[in-house]
Amino acid sequence: MGNGFSEAALAVFTTLAPMGACAFIVLCAACFKGAFEGVAAKTLDKAAFLPLVVVAVGFIGAFFHLASPLNAFFVFMGVGSSPLSNEVTVGVVFFVLAAVYCILAVAGKLSAGARKGLLVAVSVMAVVFSVFCGLAYTMYTIPTWDTPASVVQMLGYGLLGGGILGLLTLALADAEIARENAMAGAALSIAGLVIGVAGFAWQIMAAQSTANIWGTAADQVPAIWGLFGALAVCGIIGAAVAGTSRKKPVPAALAAAVVVVAVGIFFARIGFYGLYMSVAL
């Protein structure tokens, strides 16, 4: 019940990790548009570490949530049955894949075909990972979370954040490439914004009528629509900055947009955790 801020570490994780992961989708799109065929390829490969670091920071956040992080390797024992194990496993698979890509790319060991193949795989895993971040909360004793809305919004947040973060990654390497791929990043962000906002709204609406002995779930978070608004506004700002990059990508503006969007998603996540309500007590 209750206070979403008590799960701030998880909110950091679910904000940053899917966002970092989905940023690779923008890289993948850029790759198919030939971004890695020019002189900027080397800088781009270095910049690709940025989303990887964002994912890692997210994982570190999750680590702090644990009371006994040293036991963390036991987490794979529950694969199949525990949604958390599934999420972590998918996340680790994604991370290894993404790390392999980054390392091989920087080392110059990737043929064009291998690069494309790997980026497609990483992108698919990014989406799968975002979905599993949502699935992790679909526990049958928690009616406010046990809904597709949990999954939908998580996917949306990943795409929203990933689109802008991906664009920032490109912009840090080469302004022209960023300009050329701005549509892809913006489209991803806008799609993510729509999906995320819809998923969160769906959950909030459902929470109005989900009740246990303590009352309805929505009553627990009186500011829930405010948090929703924060997500929407931050998301629109982020998507707008992505859109303006079609003309002139400004790395600083994109970086600020990434922060704004991350804050928006973080607030939405706080709202999500606040809506936690057990079927009974």
Binding site: S68, M77, G78, S82, Y140, T141, I142, I213, S278
Partner: protein, 204 residues
């Protein structure tokens, strides 16, 4: 496998919380934490007649419970490490060497049984006083109840009772709790929304 379970004779309970006190003492629980809960529910209201006299159809009743050592424990389902496990007596407890303290068991359990003790670095919960059971003794709460309202035994040896089907508890179909209750007259059914928790400060 033997399946141990609790029996709660609600018709004897006076809400005194000695079960909870004894458990907190024996397990040396920190302030603010408890394995056993005693919920006070109330409902109904008051009516004043024209002559100023009062009548009431209000009711109050207590339900005492800890971990139900469910047949189908939600905590075990979500546990990523398998630390949460059932032993040969059907008692659900935490393998502390394996628990990462992620808190999913706490979130998933609809009985508010396990919680993470960050200082200890793992989840903690009612383990049916299994060390005492092994010595042929009763769990501390059972032994403490001055009204003899609690029992703990293999479920086929418990007196007849309804399977934990009383507000504020969840639908027993969900996790198949091993708590059998002899309901008191004031008890209301699972999901009843006409009653409210009357001792929120004591159970939250």
């Amino acid at each position: 496998m033997t399946q141990y379970g609790f029996y709660f004779d609600a018709t004897r309970c006076t809400g005194c919380k000695t079960c909870e006190a004894a458990c907190r003492d024996y397990h040396n629980l920190d302030l603010g934490t408890t394995f056993r809960h005693v919920y006070e529910l109330e409902g109904g209201g008051w009516n004043q007649a024209e002559d100023g006299t009062w009548t009431t159809d209000s009711f109050t009743y207590y339900t005492s419970f800890a971990c139900q050592h469910c047949d189908d424990p939600a905590c075990m389902h979500v546990c990523p490490t398998g630390a949460m496990h059932k032993d040969e007596n059907g008692i659900v407890s935490v393998d502390t060497g394996r628990c990462i303290g992620c808190g999913y068991c706490h979130m998933a359990c609809p009985y508010d049984a396990p919680f993470v003790d960050r200082a200890k670095g793992h989840s903690v919960k009612c383990d049916g006083c299994k060390d005492r059971i092994a010595e042929g003794k009763q769990p501390m709460c059972v032994e403490a109840c001055s009204m003899r309202a609690l029992q703990f035994a293999p479920v086929d040896q418990l007196p007849e009772g309804e399977r934990a089907a009383v507000a504020p508890l969840p639908d027993p179909e969900l996790t198949k709790p091993n708590l059998y209750i002899k309901n008191c007259a004031a008890a209301h059914a699972v999901g009843d929304t006409s009653c409210r928790v009357a001792n929120e400060a004591e159970v939250k």
